[in-house]
Amino acid sequence: MGRYMLRRLANYLILVIVATSLAYFLAALSLNPRANFEAQKPRPTTAQIDATLKTYNLDPETPVVVRYARWVDGIAHGNLGLDIKGGSVADDFGRKVGVSIRLLVIATIIGSIGGVLVGAYGAIKQYRFFDRWTTLASFFLLAMPVFVVAIALQMFAVNINDAAGSTVIQYIGEYNPTLSGFWPVLISRLQHLILPTITLTLFQIAQYSRYQRNTMLDVLGSDFLRTARAKGLRRRTALMKHGLRTAILPIVPLLVYNIVLLFTGATFTETIFGWHGMGEWLVLSITTNDVNSVAAVSLFTAAVVLVAGLLSDLIYSALDPRVRFS
């Protein structure tokens, strides 16, 4: 088992290195940081721009392989380089990851559990009211762009706020920076979390519940569920202990990958609700020709895929004895 995991780890590591290197070359060759400085007002002199580009390791005259080598050397020393404004990418990085985590944790937990439960219950009640209704709602949501849902929610929040006579639900930003003290800040953060969490949760429930419904339907007709009831287990106990437990297996990898990839995939939600997380950063760094930031995000994404892979392997083998010893 340990050796198996080690081998997997080695495979994933190679994958991370290849993917990140490719991303670096792509970014370094296709983005044009010089344009940023040329657009600045007042426009710096060409000599100044050249000098800055050199210090940022963005000089197009230096062979890309050399720049890459420097970048790698930096990473080895814990240094992700400088962003296009001369700040430390590592500092940006820490901040953005923090934002993403705060944004995603609650939504992901509710989304996955909700998705599993909605899907499983829908399967049990196949073609009944609950099932029809959730199926319809899920496909409706999945067919809709995120920003439509987000904006609809914002409008809804406005109505609630109007009715309440005060701003109960916040729709932009992470918290109100003018507040101080533990409780006021916490409450403010929660108020700001409501809408993006609902948005993310809805989409996750819609997606996961479809998969869960299918796997649960397969299990419902299974002989082992019948055996469990023939032993004397109540219907509900048998459904949870034997049915759902088995039906969850096939969607474990899907859940893990989706959740982990949300880190850089929640771009729209972050942008619309004004959260400065990883997703927003990726788009921003591309549009501002910020090669080092793009490379950092790519590195992060690849690392996150590695974690997802290992995690899903681990969880899967913990849940399914059939793969444990192979």
Binding site: F224, T227, A230, K231, G232, P321
Partner: protein
């Protein structure tokens, strides 16, 4: 949802009871206890009806089933697929889907079960009534260990802590014969073989000392030697718990020696019901009679054609009025089309049957009576082809396999595979088929018979040894044209006709395909298709129908027609009847027999069912772990089986004959078939060989070190055992 109704008193047709016949449906007016020597029945099912909604209307799966089971008694319920036998027992456990409409009465110890809610039923399930299901792999939850599942069953009903429950689980596993129960208790279902899983199921069923065990086809998916082991365990379980058993099966052989009473079901109703000896020896209902006549028997003395029951069971959605068996019954009369017969005891009979003519159906026939033995016209044995009349030595060989070997490397690793062993799937097989001859290749799953067949059909000659077809060594046949010609002369028929027929093609096109491939022109093809359909007993006008419009037996006939389209000389049949119900199977077997004699064909017939092979084969090869262990003329192999494995195999086959069955001494094999990656040294059968155990150390030494080769016992009879000795077992 289920509703208990008060219709237990009898069916609406009671008023039409004919004079001289006594109704047997248990009525509340007459306590059953009085008729059964004072023992009140444990389980009493009366007038049970189950129907399921479907788009075409309600499917009436069970239409008035009544039976009772007394403590310690074994009741067998026999029927073919769709007869309602499983549905009626699921109803007893209350495990039918919510959409099922269940009516009638099910009483246990006098308490009505129908209409109880899930909470109350859960207290009865697994405690008073336990269940053993058919396929033990899918019937156990894959993610929990065997122990966990048994402990769960114990703890649902008994107030035992984890440690005590575990101890009890280990005891139970030991009881059902799982070796090493202390270790195996933590194994997962996928780590158990089929037979062991079924043992574990039985352990689970007896965990709470049930009063009744319902076993639904408990041995159907298992090999015959494993079936014998499992039946033995089930008997033991009954001895230990004193439980009554309701055994549901399609196999009349399994019940013959096991049950006290038997109920035969057809189209959702019992059609005959009584003590096994009565029903087997003095059947009074044409369906039962037909069923008994259609089973090929391993203990057959001479070759006879089987009596198939023509037609197929009626649709349960739109049952015709009258007797549901009418369309297939050879002795139907006008009243049969008018009125459905009730389950009544005819004068002179000792058990009830549902037939308007049951009073005429007396053993031996006689004045104005019908002899059950002759109501089905026995098809004449086909007249032997001129080739078949030649002595064997004078016929030419169509297939010669010499020392054929097929080993697979056993690999490990996902990306970089490394070899960690060799699977000896086929390990040196020699056989020969002459013109007009059928060779039956039998063996249990995993013995290598399918690999052998594929190697032969592959026409590449295998890794070692040689395959010679029609006198040509396949290695020497070069060029696409010569190979195509060879292939034309040998055709194959597979087990599952639905999977091997393209559902989107009308059967005419399916039959035309091989003809087209071999360059037949349109006119010749068009003329050939009706001919082929007629040849296999199908209506030649149906060539534009699609495979799904035909029943299982008819589809297999289509497969056969396709194989015969090009008039091959050798037909390889891979389990051709094992997916079919017995009454249908008989017709296909007769057809194969007839075609063989008519066209002078040779068959290589691969099967696991010894009775089928006994019926159809001229010669038999018994395979064990990649080798042929006994080979010879059918009669001689069945009458004087000389290899201990053949003896065990034959003795494991249940006979549909209660008295013989009860008198038989089974040779039980221990354990499962070893993996072909791990073949024992010397004789590959020695770790399971019953004979080995009786040998003295010197002789045992020989079994361990020397690999026995086939040696001749009689003119056409060889066996690969150092101490081969004939022993009559059937």
């Amino acid at each position: 949802m289920s509703t208990a109704s008060s219709r237990a008193g009898g069916t609406p047709q009671d008023s039409t009871t004919e004079e001289g016949l006594t109704p047997v449906i248990e009525t509340s007016k007459e306590p059953a206890a009085d008729r059964h020597g004072g023992v009140p029945p444990l389980l009493e099912v009366s007038d049970l009806h189950v129907s399921f909604p479907s788009e075409a209307g309600p499917v009436k799966a069970v239409r008035g089933v009544s039976y009772s089971v007394r403590p310690g008694e074994v009741l067998g319920i026999v029927g073919e697929s769709g007869s309602g036998k499983s549905v009626s027992s699921m109803a007893v456990l209350g495990l039918l889907p919510d959409s099922a409409d269940v009516r009638g009465s099910i009483r246990m110890d006098g308490r009505e079960l129908l209409g109880l809610n899930d909470a109350k039923m859960s207290k009865i399930r697994g405690k008073d009534i336990a269940m053993v299901f058919q396929d033990p792999l899918s019937a156990l939850t894959p993610v929990y260990s065997i122990g966990t599942q048994i402990i769960e069953a114990i703890q649902v009903h008994q107030d035992l802590d984890k440690v005590k429950a575990r101890t009890r689980a280990i005891e139970l596993l030991d009881l059902v014969g799982i070796p090493d129960p202390h270790q195996r208790v933590d194994a997962f279902p996928h780590e158990f073989s089929g037979g062991m899983r079924q043992r574990a199921m039985i352990a689970m069923a007896i965990a709470n000392d049930p009063k009744i065990i319902i076993a639904d086809e408990p041995t159907t998916a298992l090999d015959v030697t494993i079936q014998a082991q499992v039946l033995e365990v089930l008997k033991k379980a009954q001895d230990v718990t004193g439980a009554a058993i309701v055994m549901i099966t399609h196999d009349l052989g399994v019940i013959a020696g096991f049950a006290d009473r038997v109920m035969v079901m057809y189209a959702g109703r019992p059609v005959e019901n009584g003590p096994v000896d009565e029903v087997y020896y003095r059947p009074r209902m044409p369906y039962t009679i037909g069923l008994l006549g259609s089973i090929p028997r391993v203990d057959a003395d001479e070759r006879r054609a089987l009596t198939p029951i023509d037609g197929t069971p009626p649709s349960m959605v739109a049952l015709p009025k009258g007797c549901p068996f009418e369309a297939r019954c050879p002795i139907a009369i006008d009243v049969c089309r008018e009125r459905e017969p009730e389950l009544l005891t005819a004068p002179g009979a000792n058990h009830p049957s549902a037939c308007h003519r049951s009073r005429e159906l007396a053993e031996g026939g006689g004045e104005g009576l019908l002899d059950p033995a002759t109501i089905y016209p026995i098809p004449p044995l086909p007249e032997a082809h001129e080739i078949e009349r030649l002595p064997r030595e004078e016929r030419t060989a169509v297939l010669e396999v010499d020392n054929l070997v097929k080993h697979f490397p056993l690999l490990k690793g996902a990306v970089f595979k490394r070899k960690i062993g060799t699977v000896k799937a086929v390990d040196g097989i020699t056989l020969e088929i002459k013109e007009g001859e059928t060779l039956g290749l039998v063996g249990e799953s995993g013995c290598g018979k399918t690999t052998t067949l594929l190697e032969i059909m592959d026409l590449t000659g295998g890794q070692a040894g040689s395959v010679t077809v029609f006198g040509k060594d396949v290695r020497e046949v070069k060029g696409a044209k010569a190979r195509k010609a060879l292939r034309r002369d040998m055709q194959i028929v597979f087990q599952d006709p639905m999977a091997s027929l393209d559902a989107r093609m009308p059967i005419g096109d399916i039959l035309a395909e091989p003809l087209k491939t071999h360059g037949w022109d349109r006119a010749r093809t068009d003329a050939r298709i009706p001919e082929l359909l007629e040849l296999v007993g199908l209506n030649p006008d149906h060539s534009d129908r699609f495979p799904q419009e035909f029943s299982g037996g008819q589809r297999q006939r289509i497969s056969i027609a396709r194989a015969l389209a090009l008039e091959p000389k050798l037909v390889v049949l891979d389990e051709p009847v094992s997916a079919l119900d017995v009454s249908i199977q008989a017709g296909v077997l007769n057809l194969l027999d007839e075609l063989k004699s008519r066209m002078g064909l040779s068959y290589l017939f691969v099967a696991h069912d010894l009775s089928v092979v006994r019926h159809i084969a001229d010669r038999i090869a018994v395979m064990y772990l990649g080798r042929i262990v006994e080979l010879g003329e059918t009669r001689s192999v069945f009458h004087e089986p000389s290899h201990p494995y053949t003896q065990a195999l034959l003795s494991a086959v249940p006979l549909p004959d209660p008295q013989k069955e009860r008198a038989r001494e089974r040779i039980l094999l221990t354990g499962d078939l070893p993996s072909p990656a791990n073949v024992p040294s010397g004789c590959r059968f020695r770790n399971r060989c019953p004979k080995y155990l009786q040998l003295n150390p010197g002789e045992q030494q020989r079994c361990e070190s020397e690999d026995p080769q086939l040696h001749t016992l009689a003119p056409d009879h060889t066996a690969a055992c150092h101490f081969a000795e004939a022993l009559a077992v059937v």
